[in-house]
Symmetry: C2
Subunit: 541 residues, 2 copies
């Protein structure tokens, strides 16, 4: 029995920091300010992260203790990204858009002992400070009044300035918790994902491949995705492994701000959600701007409309590549980098790039049907996408929501196909897909097809019980003009298999929406089951 002779050095974020600060010490982090950029070299970030680690140690924060951060994308936040986990504590990133109630719930659920808060966000903590019994002190970044805070306060810059940067980073089990993030689900109990040093380092390493971001030392990376979301999509750590400089927008997130940052800082990479890319495009249409420094833009968090992808490329010369991931997958787990041999901008290239992603090395993916059968990667079989890997969560903090896992696999809740090269396309959510006679009908696909008809202003599809087929689709339509449902069904029959064509229709004056503007399918289901929907049948199936 042969045993390995290799070193058992643990993976750790402090080693990532040390690499970036030494080998790429001259790379920079530019933080947008009121009137320009504040510059810090990776060497300086490294020194400040060490000072912060030292200060937290002095203040009694210990191994495994959660420390919350409520902050924009700034150099100080980046220092916390390394300093807090590096000394053994756990950085709990807090979404700046949460309500006070949501904020206090997850701070208390995590048990945060301290908070690091950007000066512009202090009011959010003041408003809930009496509901945070476990928070012992608050570290405030920036020169703002803090009189309203009744917790002990430390000024970030004083705290850091008072320490030497000669902190000796401790070495510990790589499975130690490093950071945590709650998913954005607005209902039910809070679901926290706790990343480990191991999972974050492996994730960051996987991002260096050209199949992922492929960052280079001469890149400048505009990180528009908030650092309070899923490790800022892994960009901060990947930057320190690759030497790519960072451009951090701080709180300046309007389309005009972003376009201005591109024109002045000349980033080569950028990452954002599709809605932000749309705002950027719209702004650049009205106020012509030079965005061509960007060699590639990543879009993720939701499907990007093909028209947006095309217009950014054709009008602005910005090539978008679509990524896919979840808080539960440490962010990026798939990237729709097209395979070789497609002419950039060709229809095949664009079609390929509308895939949701291509599975990254380190991520196992499978699609599974209702009966637990694993389906082939043929680009056609539709099932729930499930993933597994060293950077994928296998549970939630406090062991809640066990139903989201299946023997170590994360049930993503997304429904889609995978082709024989690992490109996957998400077509619906598990809870929205219509299970008809053992086959799945995508509600999203039906809605998209219906919206292609000029007479249809809005469309929403839910599944309703059916004695023979288990479920059948019910289509809610807000019509611009009077329209015969048989006609709409006939049009759909051109694009769909016969059994996919819906026969139940409801013409309504409006479709209910959630607070964030999405179709509220739960409200539609409730209305249907309460008998409040007039269903018209287009034909018998």
């Amino acid at each position: 029995m042969i045993t390995t002779t290799m070193s058992d050095v643990p993976l750790s974020l402090s080693r990532v920091l040390r690499h970036g600060a030494r080998v790429f010490g001259g790379s920079e982090c530019l933080t947008r300010t009121e009137d320009g950029f504040a510059r810090a070299s990776f060497r300086e970030i490294g020194a400040n992260a060490a000072r912060l680690a030292k200060a937290l140690t002095r203040l009694g924060i210990g191994h495994g203790d959660p420390v919350g951060s409520l902050s924009w994308n700034t150099a100080a936040h980046l220092e916390a990204y390394f300093g807090v986990p590096g000394m053994g504590a756990v950085l709990h990133t807090l979404n700046t858009r949460l309500t006070g109630r949501q904020l206090s719930t997850i701070v208390n659920h995590a048990g945060d002992r301290a908070l690091i808060v950007d000066g512009t966000l202090v009011d959010q903590i003041v408003a809930i400070q009496d509901e945070l019994p476990g928070v012992e002190f608050v570290i405030v970044v920036g020169d703002v009044p803090v009189d309203a805070l009744r917790k002990p306060v430390h000024r970030y810059h004083e705290l850091v300035a008072a320490e030497d940067p000669d902190f000796e980073w401790p070495e510990f089990d790589e499975r130690s918790a490093a950071s945590m993030c709650y998913t954005s689900g607005t209902t039910g109990e809070p679901k926290g994902v706790v990343y480990s040093h191991r999972s974050l380092v492996l994730h960051a390493m996987s991002l260096l491949s050209v199949q992922a971001y492929g960052p280079r030392e001469d890149d400048r990376w505009l990180a528009l995705v908030p650092m309070f979301h899923a490790n800022g999509w892994g960009i901060p750590y990947a930057a320190f492994l690759s030497g790519a400089s960072l451009v951090l927008p701080n709180r300046f997130m309007s389309a005009a701000d972003i376009v201005g940052m591109v024109e002045t800082a000349r980033p080569t990479l950028a990452a954002a959600v599709p809605t932000l890319w749309a705002l950027v495009r719209d702004h650049a249409r009205e106020h012509p701007a030079d965005l061509t420094s960007l060699r590639v833009g990543t879009s993720g968090g939701a499907a990007i409309p093909r028209s947006l992808l095309e217009s950014l490329e054709v009008e602005q010369g910005v090539r978008i590549v679509q990524g896919w991931g979840m808080t539960e997958t440490s962010s990026l787990a798939g990237m729709a980098v097209p395979p070789p041999g497609l002419a950039p901008g060709s229809p095949e290239d664009l079609t390929q790039r509308t895939a949701s992603g291509r599975v990254l090395a380190g991520v196992d993916m499978r699609i599974v049907d209702d009966h637990g059968t694993v389906l082939p990667w043929d680009g056609e079989s539709v099932g729930e996408i499930q993933v597994r890997g060293p950077s994928v969560t296998a549970g939630y903090h406090g062991d809640v929501a066990a139903e989201a896992f299946d023997a170590g696999w994360l049930r993503t809740g997304d429904v889609g196909t995978v082709d024989d090269r690992g490109f996957f396309r998400i077509t619906d959510r598990v809870k929205d897909v219509i299970k008809s006679g053992g086959e799945w009908i995508s509600s999203v696909e039906l809605e998209d097809l219906l919206l292609g008809d000029p007479r249809v202003a809005e469309a929403a599809v839910i599944g309703i019980p059916d004695a023979r087929w288990t479920e059948r689709p019910l289509v809610f339509v807000v019509a611009r003009d009077a329209v015969d449902p048989a006609e709409l069904a006939g049009r759909l029959a051109d694009s769909l298999a016969r059994w996919q064509v819906p026969e139940n229709w409801a013409f309504v004056s409006e479709i209910p929406k959630t607070a964030v503007g999405k179709i509220d399918k739960n409200a539609l289901r409730t209305r249907f089951h309460a008998g409040g929907v007039d269903v018209v049948r287009s034909r018998a199936r």
Copy 2:
């Protein structure tokens, strides 16, 4: 105390194989044959690796059992690279150039239970088969006579063809041994390095960065470095993670063969030792060839002469990047990819690329002087290079040669400098450097400078005892014309600090060489200490 929620999936080579065979199933492995190339897709390699794993299991090979391979770079060897470790056994790669005595020593030291042998190399095993009591059977690749083998023989292709590819890869501790390799040191006890699944996967991941090989799916990678050396420089595993196709030269390793392979297979990447690159250049000078498919060539294993680097670039359009590594570091641990901003081919660019390497992410490096003091990364301080990391060995099989390690750091035996961007330059070996008055004088640097004098045909420098300075250099010169040592010393004084200029000279008719043509400094030391050297002094120090 927060604990991680992340999955504890182990890193394993079977997951690397599965990724390559599924996501890049259409990528290819081209093995050179007598009259062309044998092609196998990554999908086929994956299926055959599974069949091999199944056959080995059936033959009684178990977890942790060593299985030797004596083979060129071929598809079958690639299948063994995945199949043997994937099922839990340990692939022990054997250097085809070893003597029978060396071969039997390491086969027995490792305890190989079986051997996988290329048909063209069977005679090497036949010659020593009676000295291999632990080897239970031999698997022969290729259709050659095997009558002379007195061990039980299996034909590789029959073995593989008899199995289904539906092997279920076992999951086990990622620190399980995966493969092993003995260092090429010709003296002393055999030193085996045993890689783990963890170390190999982390190493392969680190190679995907553009700071390392940066392979892409549209690359074709000509792997000229033998797969029996240090994981074939990590190329086989990195190919399966990146989708880069492989071109394997088999036993066809002449300069004409290699140039022919470049012209027909059109590889974009290639990796070889400098002597092979020199042969390729020389051949291409005499028989003009088109090598321009190569976007980058890696040179490693020894320092590449600047003239060779320049001539390959200027004459053949082949850009060489220098890499550094050892068997003990899983191969590549540094790569001299120039920093941004240097014009390709400019003098600065070339100088930068004559660095030995730039430390890769995942590798900790330090330089240490005689007293154990860690020296700064200033590009000037000279010390022994020591490394540490999850893909660096912390010992040798059987716990031999403990003196090669210092508190978890591998003492490389190389002496050099590191600059403030992690570029290191190896200037000498620890055993050859001259320790003079607390400072180190590079014997190699002195030799190089002396060889720049047209009157000097050969030069070799050793350290000799000195009452005041501990050691001082003694220079052996084979002169073309009579030359005054004071004159040579005067010339050296133009390039060196005063204390570095040697004052002890010995004019000889020849300099002893080792079997592989290197200067035999041990022989020179022995001759000096036996009083057999006439020392001339150029001046008093």
